[in-house]
Amino acid sequence: MLELQNVSFSVTTEKGEKKDIVKNVSLKIDERFVAITGPNGGGKSSLAKLISGVYQPTGGRILFDGTDITDMPITERARLGISFAFQQPVRFKGLTVRDLITLAAGKKIDMTTACGYLSEVGLCARDYIDRELNASLSGGELKRIEIAMILARGTKLSVFDEPEAGIDLWSFNNLINVFRNMYEKVQGSILIISHQERILNIADRIIVIADGEVREDGTREKVLPNVMNGNEACSVLTSKL
């Protein structure tokens, strides 16, 4: 369904030096639930942005269902069936939860349907549907609404960038169930960037990205034990532990 062929992404730093963020990554993703993990700053979020079209690759091609989408803008990729949940959800003054869910669904939806999406993520529709997505909502609430929007879209591919970031422990327990339910109900594939063992635990396949490259790639059974052994920590740090 999704294929990355030798995808690279580099930026120019303030000092004018070229920095490679994603280096020649090739991946073919057909599984229903794939988790990408790895250390911070390793290029995971950049990879998600390259897939959704927020960033343009500096090299390589991206194919979605056989179509070359490398040069397609964000809107066209979204219309083809790619959804992207931000790590840090965006606030909108004036736009309500109802507005955003309706825009995500792409059509007018009734209260019961909207309520369904919100209750999936543990929010009571009656309390939230007419609230503005402004500073009055907490980070965790925004995050859940962000996920509800992805549910409302129901596309072939849903990319989540660290859905656990900014969520309290209590909410996180429920979040796991959200993804379990998604796995069962949604027909498409889920690509999720996460550090959380409990999310990795429900993935069919785990890809470890570090320093812009694929370090490990395989089934959960194969990759998870290595990730949990913490072989990424440096000797200075481990000597202090």
């Binding site: 959704s52 079209g53 927020v54 803008p73 964000i74 809107t75 979204a78 219309r79 790619i82 959804s83 992207f84 931000f86 959800p89 965006v90 909108f92 003054k93 004036g94 736009l95 309500t96 507005d99 955003l100 825009l103 995500a104 792409g106 929007m149 879209r153």
Partner: protein, 305 residues
Amino acid sequence: MDQIEKNLLEAVADLHTMPDGAYNIRENGKLAARNTTANVDIVTKADGSGIDIIIKPGTKNESVHIPVILSETGLHDLVYNDFYVGDDCDVTIIAGCGIHNCGTQETAHDGIHSFHLGKNAKLRYVEKHYGEGDGTGENIMNPTTVVELGEKAHMEMETTQIKGIDSTKRVTRAALAAGASLVIREKIMTHGNQYAETDFTVDLNGEGSSANVVSRSVAKDHSKQKFLSRVNGNTACSGHTECDAIIMDEASVCAIPELTANNIDAALIHEAAIGKIAGEQLVKLMTLGLSEKEAEEQIVNGFLK
């Protein structure tokens, strides 16, 4: 009344037919229709310069509509309206001005509205300004609002100018007695080469009085906006003023806050934010399948809702 005038009436006062309750409809500088009720009297001033609207003390849940519509090009309409809202009233006044100018000359409406609210009176005042017409003549509106709030009186003023006004200077002066409160919500969108200036002065004179002046605006194309907001805290009081503007294209927005505390217990706050639409907001809506233009429209409409 022809279709153009009916459309204007709908745009500024949401009126499809004659409203319930008291009303005074002014059309091209002349009285077109008037209705008074047992509690609301509307009287033409002796010198013909405008009207007095007198609302009896204790009047509750009544509304007064006073729309003005101009469909003749080249007309300069100046009107003085005085509103006397008696003690303990709870009423709504809906004003508004619509101009349809399809000629080449300037059409202007300058309304000077003075409000005198008695003790404990509550008023919601809604004012919409709207212009249309494919002529080259400019649509100009310069409203002045003078507000005097009696003890514990409360007034909410909602003003909207969304479309078609080429030039506006809106002046609002308010003086508050003890325990009185004033809320002003202004929404403005300018486009083309339009100019909009708002100038608020609020004097918090009575102990425990409070004011909240909030402006949300969008400036597009080459339009210019200026927002002046003066709040004078002359006693133990609280005042908050906020200007929140989205700037687009080649537009320009200027926000000038002026807070003066003349008393140690005056608590005054000003907030101002001017900026373009955040890139991440556009990107978020585009990941939902909207084009950049559609995303921009949604953000602007939501902001001015």
